[in-house]
Amino acid sequence: MRIMKFVLQKEFRQIFRDKTLLKMIFIMPIVQLLVLPMAANFTVKNINLSIVDHDHSSYSQKFISKIFSSGYFKLAGDNPSFLESYVLIENDKADIILEIPEGFERNLTRENGQKLFIAVNAINGVKALVGSGYLNSIIMDYNNDIRSQLLQPTTFNLMPTIEVVSSNWFNPNLTYYIFMVPGILVMLITLVGGNMTALNIVKEKEIGTIEQINVTPLKKYQFLLGKLIPFWIIGMIIFSIGLMIARFAYGIIPIGNIGLMYAFLAVYLFTILGFGLLISTYAETQQQAQSLAFFFLMIFNLMGGLFTPIDSMPEWAQWITRLIPISYFINVMRMVVLKGSAFSDIQYHLLIVFVMGIILNGWAVINYKKTS
């Protein structure tokens, strides 16, 4: 016990003396939590729309003003021909071209129908998809307006129509940061936990202090615990800071039990520290460790369901995400924070992450040999 106390004391001393490391551990997550959720926003705004109006009627004018009053679109150019608008797309100045044909008003009123032409620049897939979606719904809306004007209002609708009205549960306004903040917090814990542990142990290898430690009677587990416990505690602290930021900067108050979140975090940190430990056993220099950790953490972050929903990934990719511990924690965080899920809802997540932890740590300990 006395030895353990000294080993921990030494580790904490070293961490708190490394000013750069301290900044990385505490200031970076705070800044990222304040910046990322605001910036990493999928709500598409400022879609550049180029209009080619061949009709110049009061209907087309009304239609155009309806589009721009939605607030999603910006006029990128009002051109007399499609070809001129197309140049705008080529120069990346326009995202969508809307062509209103000649006789738009006349055909709508007399022939009960008219076709519009929309050309979308799909280089930025998200913007194209969302933008044309918005535009379509505005056209539908406009269509309904005209119908109600032209058709004689009757007591009963002649044609039955299905109107779909959806209500969003757990995040009624689909506020982006409400589900991003818990996810980003998990990402930060993973970065700090996985990366820092790996770097810290490899540093001892690199500067040779591990040689000196290895010839002492210090036990393998004592040395490793001395490395893991400080980062376990630091992970807890960062998480707490993150929850505070979520509350005071974003007004996110977890609906579920906070104790449950900490319980899951405790297990998750065990797993992710094991991941860092495993990397450290394969790397000889801090540079190698950094590259290895970067490779895996990149996959973790992009495939863990933080930015893109796992359900929309192809089957094989979904299988990969099942091997990624971060995906379980992001899921659990969103469930507990937004939905108020209880222990029974997350027990399998907990079990899987725990088993992963056992495997990663076990593998690392076997691989970390005192005698080569």
């Binding site: 006395r2 030895i3 000294f6 080993v7 030494k10 001393r13 070293q14 003396r17 490394d18 500067i207 040779g208 202090t209 591990i210 040689e211 000196q212 430690i213 290895n214 010839v215 002492t216 009677p217 210090l218 005698t371 080569s372």
Partner: protein, 305 residues
Amino acid sequence: MPDITLDHISKTYNKNTLLALDDISFEVNKGELFGLIGPDGAGKTSLFRILTTLLLPDKGFATVNGFDVVKNYKSIRGIIGYMPGKFSLYQDLTVEENLKFFATVFKTTVEKNYDLIRDIYLQIEPFKKRRAGQLSGGMKQKLALCCALIHKPEVLFLDEPTTGVDAVSRREFWEMLKSLQKENITILVSTAYMDEATLCDRIGLIQSGKMLSVDTPENVLKAYPENLFAIKSKNVHKLLTDLRNFENTLQCYASGEYLHLSFKTENGNSQNEVVVFLKEKGHDEIEMKMCKPSIEDCFIRLLAS
């Protein structure tokens, strides 16, 4: 009773392609100051790593203080002090903290064995609040020695402790080792400096993983088989090439301002023959005298045979 024994130890790296140690056997007695002398890459560090239980030998077996380095490695770790060639204490901890930390992991305290390190520690005590990384080279060595001694080890392993240390600090360091010997600590020290060999009780000359000779420095010197001559002339560079072409030359190499020369077969006339040969080659101001071989000469001689 020997304190360290090596019995036909071999070690290869890179899947048996690189031979680091080739069938090495020798013994070091209790309380002896044993020097392992050899150039860089001779296998000194590999040997140290095997004896300090950091590396497993491929063949052979070795004991330290009666314990087998493979089977009883745990017992060995408690009774040895190891100072690796590279400074490997915590640079971001202070002098005092390093010492305390190593005392603790060896389950002892600084106070308990303070007598042993006092003479060395007093020299670095003024800097005890300074971080180890900010110490000068000589100070670092002293701190590393203190940390290796803090648990009063039975055997002390010092891997090139004086490499990169100035001449004054080197002499001080060897004086410290001499005084540690009085505490009956067995010391195995390696060095690439041939002049330090004479300070050891016994030395082992090692080259390319092979032990060339193990004996006291005096006996190693005595064992030099031929007479050794120091020779110089106006054009030393030409002299070297000419002498190497001389048919009776066994070895000729530069040593300081002179060339050292030994003959294949020597009779009373050999010296004159060389001078005549050199005069024919156009050398003047030839100066030739007999000289005593140094450890370096012995080493070079052993490499040739």
